[in-house]
Amino acid sequence: MRAGRRGAPGYLRLDRSRAGGLPAWAWRTIIVAAALGAVELTARFALDGSYELVPITTMAERAAELLVDPGFLTQHLLWSSVSVLVSFTAAAVIGIALGYLMHGHPWWNRALRPYLSVFYAVPIFALYPLLVVVFGTGLMPILLIATAFSAVVVTTHASLGFASVPQNVDKLATAVRTSRSQYVRLVLFPAALPDIIAGARLGFAYSITAVLASEFILSTRGVGHFISTAYAGFMSVDMYAGIFLVAAFSLVLIAVVDRAAAHLDWRRR
């Protein structure tokens, strides 16, 4: 249906493929180019080399240099990547196990559900200083915070996934006398897989956030620490290059995870 029917209000959602002669993707490109161009021009001409902002091209150049700097790679990028991977893996295992426990045992479901639902209302990072005093500024407090922060979202989604087996499928599994292991392997996990994937995707994003936030607050290594130190030392090129790298990596990683999730999620096929 063409839009712009004379007199029809905009809220009627008469869908259209173009506005101002341009399709949606072109408008998106224009908006992104305008935003990046505004940063570039403001930094280059309006602020002219001040500390507050550096041009996008300078950020990208410095980010490319950092990617071949062995010190940055081993001290910061590798450290943060290991923290994210370990905490995410632990969160996925713990989350799926807890979700399964809550599905199989109603008592545990009633015991844990209220805490899961309020977990993200309480700023979990308040615990980080406590863990730093107990374990020092090494990897352990970061892993504990990041695992806890991301395990809850995996647990919530996994338990919902396990509860989503259709009743007639359950009846069919009983009728054909599946064993417990067959039921788990052939019915329960395939049914829960889309929810588990959705939870794992969120858990991955939460792991990145938790690791970087912990490194910002108190740590001796990691990309968050690098950005924080650059900020404190008025090294704005390094600070923006670090932010540029994190943003680029997050966008690429989440896009890859989304693509993999779409491939595995049978509900989307």
Binding site: A19, S117, V122, F125, F216
Partner: protein, 273 residues
């Protein structure tokens, strides 16, 4: 994306049916406190305070005017940033959501920005706004506004077309359609968004205060780390949890009321084939 998944009506329905009475939850709370207490007694160390030491330290701190000022600072900034994030996110999201073309243009960009860990962006707030409540509050606002915007926009996209056509045939204007049609339809999702946004905003504020606050509970926490006063840190964590839980429970109650009033009603018996 998280916020949307958590605000989804089907997920909420399923969560509600899975939930139950509170006895087992109380047992877990009791066991957790008992383990904490026993662990502190066994460790007998200044690093692990008992629950009563923590609460006594909290009471001592609350008696100090400077600490009370920090608590009020956090609460004031939290209320300001939360209310602005909720209002701006809900209104702008709803206005965008009823326009499909511009939703298709803007929402993928908003989702992409939401993917970037917001915490990495907060030095930019401090560079432009300086250290203090203004930058902490702005970062807290930024942490909450995007999820609220996405929830409201997606909810507005789902307003039934028949209702909008009826409004158009009655010649309802672009602005009047919001309170008459769009708001009642998006209220349940916005109510869920209010609850989720509160968590994101408070988290953003505490992290910002820890990183570069000149006052507030986050800054008090880091000050006590430097002094290695564990019982004070534990007491402050209890206070932060209480400050988070009370509004969260109120918002959960509000969400249920709104959902009961504006949410989809079950079909009358016999209406299904």
């Amino acid at each position: 994306m998280t916020a949307l998944a958590e605000a989804s009506p089907s997920l909420k329905r399923r969560t509600r049916t899975i939930g139950g009475r509170g006895g087992p939850a109380l047992v877990v709370a009791f066991v957790a406190v008992a383990v904490w207490w026993a662990g502190a007694v066994v460790a007998d160390s200044a690093v692990v305070p008992t629950p009563d030491q923590s609460l006594r330290s909290l009471v001592t701190e609350l008696a100090q005017p400077s600490f009370r000022a920090s608590v009020f600072d956090t609460l004031r900034v939290l209320v300001q940033s939360y209310l602005s994030a909720a209002v701006v996110g809900a209104v702008v999201g709803a206005l965008l959501g009823v326009r499909p073309f511009w939703s298709r243009v803007a929402l993928p960009l908003a989702y992409a920005v939401n993917t970037v860990p917001k915490v990495t962006l907060f030095p930019i707030f401090f560079v432009f706004l300086g250290l203090g409540n203004l930058s902490c509050g702005s970062f807290a606002f930024f942490s909450g506004v995007l999820p609220m915007f996405l929830i409201a926009a997606e909810a507005a996209r789902g307003v039934p077309q028949a209702q909008l056509k009826l409004a158009a045939s009655l010649r309802v204007g672009d602005l009047r359609v919001l309170p008459m049609v769009v708001w009642p339809a998006v209220m349940p999702a916005v109510a869920a968004g209010l609850r989720l946004t509160f968590g994101f905003t408070f988290l953003g504020l505490i992290v910002a205060e820890m990183f570069a606050g000149s006052s507030g509970l986050g800054q008090q926490l880091l000050r006590n780390v430097a002094l290695a006063r564990m019982e004070y840190i534990a007491g402050e964590i209890v206070l932060i949890a209480l400050l988070a839980l009370v509004p969260f429970l109120l918002l959960t109650w509000l969400e249920r009321r709104i959902s009961d009033r504006f949410g989809p009603r079950p079909a009358p018996r016999g209406s299904r084939p």
